[in-house]
Amino acid sequence: MHIPDGYLSPQTCAVTYAAALPFWYVASRRVSALMQTRAVPLIAVVSAFCFVVMMFNLPLPGGTSGHAVGMTIAAIVLGPWPAVAAISIALLVQAVFFGDGGLTAYGANCLNMGIVGPFAGWALYHLFAGSSGVASRRRVVAAALAGYLSINVAALCAGVEFGVQPMLFHAADGTPLYAPYPLSVAVPAMLIGHLTFAGLAEAVITGGLVAYLQRADPTLLTSPGRGSRTEAGTEAGTEFGKDTAAGAGWRGTRRLWAGVGALMVLSPLGLLAAGTAWGEWRAADFASRAGRDAMAAASGAAPPQAPPAGLARLSEIWTAPMPDYAPAFLHSEIFGYILSAMVGGGLIVLVFAGLSALAARRRIDA
């Protein structure tokens, strides 16, 4: 899911950087306020851990293997804001030193894996875990589910980012200049790989680690952000635990999410200059052999044995609401972009804002 340079247009990169910036700012403020002098070493070492975890290939059911990103476990153990900081740093080192993920695409990669992923994972974990005890089996299942879903949400974001490229950035004759596949191909392609292997790896590692911590050091699951097992007594960091447990993480971000939504809506305004007819993409292409190759390549997964049955329907989700007899402006690329971004991003925002509200209410009930 590390997007390399050249897949996203510079404009998209600028937008994703701009969208990630407020999160980085808030994360740095909150991390240093809550962890004080511990922030620098803790974030550094956890970033190194996140980096190394991505090197671990997990054997998966079905005779394959995949590696995890570890964004949900970072959010569970540290709380969402430190996880944003730690994963963003890990991604930066990966991009600069090891070339995993592009430099211009760093903002997008952070948005997907360093911001959306940890927040989704954190909110879902607390939603599913509810008020269950720290040592309960339910926590393990909740963590596995949260890991699985959050990496898919992150993949969805990446798919949307890919998918809007051909609509917006193409040569005068319609030749795509960046990622060439439309939403109807890019989104399912990203999701198929992550609904299966990558999602499974993330589920195994997140659930497995929570089970491990239940045995080895359950306090790490009760006070996120403590982050130090040896600093006896001096700075127990409990204040941080209270903060995140109360759901302040999400409360604080809802406004930011609204900002992201606004950015998504506003970003195409800068692109009004561009504008030629967009080649129609058909769902039919998608069921073809080449389409499956695209999915396989995008996700690194083996192509499904049979043409995926639900894909045609899935692609219609994006195209169907705009029937052919609709007014012409509804077919314009700008409108398509806004629609896609709103549907893709807005849905996520709404779902998680709702989930977090639900999770917060449950905790109050508990």
């Binding site: 070493p41 070492v45 054997p59 030193f97 195994v204 911590l213 600093e231």
Partner: protein
């Protein structure tokens, strides 16, 4: 110290690509795969340090100029709308590598093959999927399809080449200092330095833990047990990491750290550095001007 990390895998680390997808089950089992992965990272770092100590064009430039200049060239590769310019940028990357005494096979091994396989596979369907007039009658390959595939692959390869040139010609501490003087917040620079430093330690710890678990195995394990073993190793690594974070914090406090990072800058910019920067910055400016 990193000699405890096992010898590198014959395959290069997937530079510029992410092998998020499944990998087939190869012989040796999951633990061996983990060890190979860890070894590949350590090997990449080792060779990067070795290249950076050679005497060449890029090695001789001020790191700040290199960060800004190569960043501008990466941006150029994503900005341009013309394949000729993209091709010229790719040639420039090769020329810079040769002038910096980095053999092209090195770039090929480290960047081109990995990126080519990943982005190539991704670009291939575009040949057929992108609508347009067929290139040759009877063949389902469209002209726009070919162009868009070439853009995807060319941009990814060119940008990754420039990016790797920075790391291959600049020791990491210099990259950090360059970031510092480019006004990146000092705490972030300190964290980046520490992250890099502890990646090596954790790689080493991870390799040791996996080795220790492997040494106790008598034969191949069923996948479920293998999985539990790997998850257990990651869990142990997580606890070690958190312990380490606490210990490092104390070591910093003991030497007077109170939450404010201080660094020392020691770079001088010479005329040739300014010249190099001007050249590098001229490229994206020229591209933007040409497209306006």
């Amino acid at each position: 110290m990193s000699d405890t990390v096992p010898s590198p895998s014959p395959a290069p680390a997937g530079y510029g690509a992410c092998d998020c997808g499944p990998t087939g089950r190869r012989k040796g089992g999951a633990l061996d795969r983990v060890l190979r992965g860890l070894g590949a990272v350590a090997e990449h770092a080792r060779s990067a340090e070795q290249m950076a100590s050679r005497r060449g064009l890029l090695q001789g430039l001020d790191p700040r100029i290199k960060v800004a200049g190569l960043g501008a060239l990466v941006l150029s590769a994503t900005l341009t709308h013309r394949l000729e310019i993209l091709g010229a940028l790719f040639v420039l990357a090769c020329a810079l590598a040769l002038a910096s005494r980095i053999p092209l096979w090195r770039l090929a091994r480290q960047v081109w093959i990995g990126v080519g396989l990943f982005s190539g596979a991704l670009a291939l369907p575009a040949l057929f999927l992108v609508p347009g007039a067929p290139l040759v009658a009877g063949l389902p390959v469209s002209g726009p399809g070919l162009v868009s595939a070439a853009f995807l692959l060319g941009r990814a390869e060119t940008a990754a080449s420039f990016a790797v040139l920075l790391v291959l010609t600049t020791p990491w501490p210099h990259v950090l200092k360059a970031l510092r003087s480019l006004r990146v917040p000092v705490a972030l620079v300190a964290i980046l330095g520490m992250t890099h430093r502890y990646i090596f330690l954790l790689l080493e710890s991870a390799a040791e833990m996996v080795e220790a678990r492997r040494a106790r195995l008598l034969g191949p394990l069923p996948p479920k047990a293998e999985r539990r073993l790997v998850v257990g190793a990651v869990g142990a690594l997580l606890l070690r990491s958190l312990d380490l974070a606490g210990e490092v914090h104390l070591a910093m406090v003991a030497r007077g750290y109170r939450g404010e990072v201080r660094l020392i800058d020691e770079f001088r910019i010479r005329p040739r550095d300014w010249l190099a920067l001007a050249c590098a910055l001229a490229v994206p400016v020229a591209i933007l001007w040409g497209q306006a």
